[in-house]
Symmetry: C2
Subunit: 122 residues, 2 copies
Amino acid sequence: MRSYDSGNIFARILRGEIPSPRVHDDAHTVAINDIHPQAPTHLLVLPTGSYIDFDDFAARASDEEIVAYVRALGKIARDAGVADSGYRVIFNVGPDSHQEVPHLHAHILGGRALGPLLTRRD
Amino acid sequence: MRSYDSGNIFARILRGEIPSPRVHDDAHTVAINDIHPQAPTHLLVLPTGSYIDFDDFAARASDEEIVAYVRALGKIARDAGVADSGYRVIFNVGPDSHQEVPHLHAHILGGRALGPLLTRRD
């Protein structure tokens, strides 16, 4: 089994070791802006629990954590004003997805018309 | 409030009106193969409940439905053999995302190295 690396940048942000303004902050979920935004709205939604990725979360998180995270994701998108215009939620898991930080994060992308599901070079 | 259109193709598949082999089938979640796959593994994961999109699901689904759907998503990817190599989960919500069918569905994409988060023309 893979083990969680508590030195990753999102873990450090969650512990307050690296300052990052929080768009949303509750017991189970924190949202921040992506520092390299790829759309007018580009948020990262992090569970406060230590989960490597979606696979780890789906297997190990408690029922309470799962419900809180999903409901917060919906609320964060609504609060960002993209629920009516539309948005995309992306979870990258493991090597083939190019996941960059080994702490589960959802990308919420919106604020303009997005392109196809995958890139043209795919 | 938007209302759910029970004539959409995924609703018809869930009711068995249109045949579609099921990769996964339980009380809360059904998975099928995308008919226009964009990767060696391209699954669509549908809740059996009537939810338009992720926004609708996050707001209206029961705690039980949310937990069942998230755990099934993880299991379906593991059963497809992409949990170690990696995969991407995508939810399209509303106009800007080009959501095509108004019944919540997660895309699970994997089986090869995927491209960047968004397309180059984005």
